[in-house]
Symmetry: D3
Subunit: 183 residues, 6 copies
């Protein structure tokens, strides 16, 4: 274990090897149901915080979805993802790249695993009546996250660019955008 | 140059080194204005085809945009991009990742260069009155391309998932979707 | 998805992209208790078989341990590992490299996660009274597996080399070795 | 965008993400003819300075060549290169590795693109009557540059080593060397 | 050479390029016989210390073995290894991964070279009557080292885990362990 | 060990794992003095041929130099190099990149090690009266080799380009070139 006083790797400071303890490789609570009622889309993502994973090229998260909730279409700019269903039922899919835009999706139950290639857009949809939860593995320490709807509507893209993008009119764009911008 | 009969790297067959010629490293025509009038968004992307670039980790393209045309918000799952404006004027930008969704953009003129970090959503908009053209460099032999609007509306995502994603109703989703699906 | 007829990557043949289906990214049954009674050490490792993971740099497995069973000290020559406890209780640890040989270990319960840096020796021990199970994520498509006891005793290492290695005599070596070699 | 106060990556300090602006991804002037009359070989190379390219694995430059000027045989120790002709006409080539030493070269005009595999010796020669300019893309943030004539004659290589290298006598070596060393 | 005041790469501080000297790329004494009589296993490993190798992905060492001495079974978590015999005779081998545990080994003489794939367990045994020495090349700046016997017996692994691992009883484990722990 | 019938990696066919033998990881004779009297520059380079090194990212060679012989200035487009002197005395150096062209060099004796960063031009000169030999380690399976004098004079570079490059006249170029081209 290469750790030095005052050395920082990936923006994280490294501990003196003599001070490293077992808890630096440990995280508890990935089985705990999380309240998602206050979340915009009804999902919650909890990153597994393990200092000892620094430089090991991996990241993990628990994702909870209330009944009817979605983790809306998104992608990770620097990672592939694979997820295991821990509880409930979830419709999980990804769309292949241009020009095919082909949907690859399955309704998953507990114990099912689904994989998403590097960088492709994917989503989760809890179309059941019970809470659902997944354990996601990402192939990068710094996968990044882009929510497509936010990227399009929450930022400062010009209205006319968005209207052209969606092959629609500014009125429709504005009606959607209103929900992405706090008044 | 490591090339063998009957060996394929990245899906491309390798030539006998004795048969390799200068034209295997050459491409002509990246300065030619291309007709974009028949394109859906008014843009055209021409990949620079150079067999000798196999395994060198790069890809290049010329992009043309008619006046008023856009290269709609998109990303490359496996590459960063930098582009040089060859002709005209273009509004070029990208949006940072969740939760910031911050727009970084500039109106570019001939001779300007703009860079997009790996995997982030970016767009081009020719808001001038003359055709615009760019020369794009991508940091992967196989960058991939995802158009956000197509990924959301052209594939088989369920309507209710899309409505939830856009924080809107199915009627609005259907009105947009109609333009992305051939009748 | 870059897949071609007759192209093989990592020894796996690639499907025609038009023939790829959702099931190529899917695996079922990672929640199923597996019978480990017939196994030498009382553990069972089930690789998550997902063809679409080819080239994505990841591998996953479910590991079952009967009460009292161990997954004996081992390492993966080409991967770091992180595991989530799905059921039961397990003592999970790794030993740092020479000359420290320091033990980092925890008794884990359901929902706990533990990480092992690339290539270090680690082990599992179900010291509870109920079956235990984990979901392991490895940071390589081809992590490899070396069981230390097998590497030392099951192969053809000379007896005197082993005696010197263990700072003991050939008699002790032979007494251990007898259990690793079918008569 | 992973940027932290006081963190340095590749020797560059990272900005606070909140302080990053569009100009950090922008460079102007790659279309401007540059005066090369005071240059030893009659060429000028202008690096495209874009702070936001840090960690993205790319570098770009504009190269100007007066009529009759050369960018003498050189290589980049850590990059492949591809260049687009922006103006004029240029003879562009590279030589394959030992023992073939085969020349791959073309006379290029505006809009032509030529590629050089990683690390191979290449050159530019403006054999026209008008200024020529290229836009070069390199597949590394830190490609490096070695001019072969300088590496041989401008440094402190022993004369007899050089004479043996060139299969000639010290007198000839000295006559060439005189031009590479300020008196 | 990218070196900056106050920049640290891989935990090593980089020199000002103007202060770098030839000795930063030099190491003397890899031909010197080393006394190994005080060593536990009778071997000695001397790392070739060359500051200028930082970031070049290599490490080198001279290994001496007294007659009858061993470099006990070990592996490098992050490197492949190749070694050249400088003096004497040595039995050099590695064991393939689970479940084959196949021994690949040769008795080597001066001038012989043997290679070990990334991460596999290997050993040296001087079964001659004269001192032996090797020059080892490792494919990582930070290969790491794990001695299997130490990893099993020198750390704090529970006795019952070890007994189960070796398919033996605690008494045998304790008899071996006594030699690995200072009293 | 991932080896398959009919699979080729890096242009080499992989053996059936069951057919792999110890000799696939072995090479003999790196200590043998080689006759260099018939060589143009008086040096000889013998690649260490080890099939089992495929995919391990390393290459090795023995280099012999007659008294007064040189391995003329050259570089490896895809590797760093480190070499150990096995016999004799040799002046070993490299030149840093443009614009410094600074010489880093040492007279080495048996047991000395010298390192060359990735891609930089380096040379060997046996300025002693006895044969010299080195064992070179390269950080790539396919390092490549470019001899600067050959790259400049043995190929089809135009004479006037060479004259401009060397800041001399065509007559001097032709006098050198004559020695690089068989009549």
């Amino acid at each position: 274990m290469y750790m030095y006083y005052a050395v920082r790797v990936n923006g994280l400071s490294c501990k003196d090897p003599a001070a490293v303890v077992s808890d630096d490789f440990f995280f508890a609570g990935a089985d705990k149901l999380r309240d998602t009622t206050s979340e915009r889309y009804g999902y919650s993502a909890l990153t597994v915080q393990i200092p000892g994973l620094n430089t090991q090229g991996q990241r993990y998260a628990r994702v909870d979805l209330a009944p009817g909730a979605i983790f809306p279409p998104h992608y990770h700019p620097r990672a592939a993802e694979t997820a295991l269903v821990l509880e409930g039922s979830v419709y999980f899919g990804f769309v292949s790249s241009y020009p095919d835009n082909k949907l690859f999706a399955k309704v998953l139950s507990k114990g099912d695993v689904f994989a998403v290639p590097q960088g492709l857009m994917h989503f989760l949809y809890n179309n059941g009546t019970a809470p659902a939860a997944l354990y996601a593995s990402l192939s990068s320490q710094n996968p990044g996250l882009v929510l497509l709807a936010d990227a399009l509507f929450a930022g400062a893209l010009p209205d006319d660019l968005l209207a052209k993008t969606l092959l629609t009119d500014k009125h429709t764009v504005d009606s959607i955008r209103a929900n992405f911008r706090p008044s």
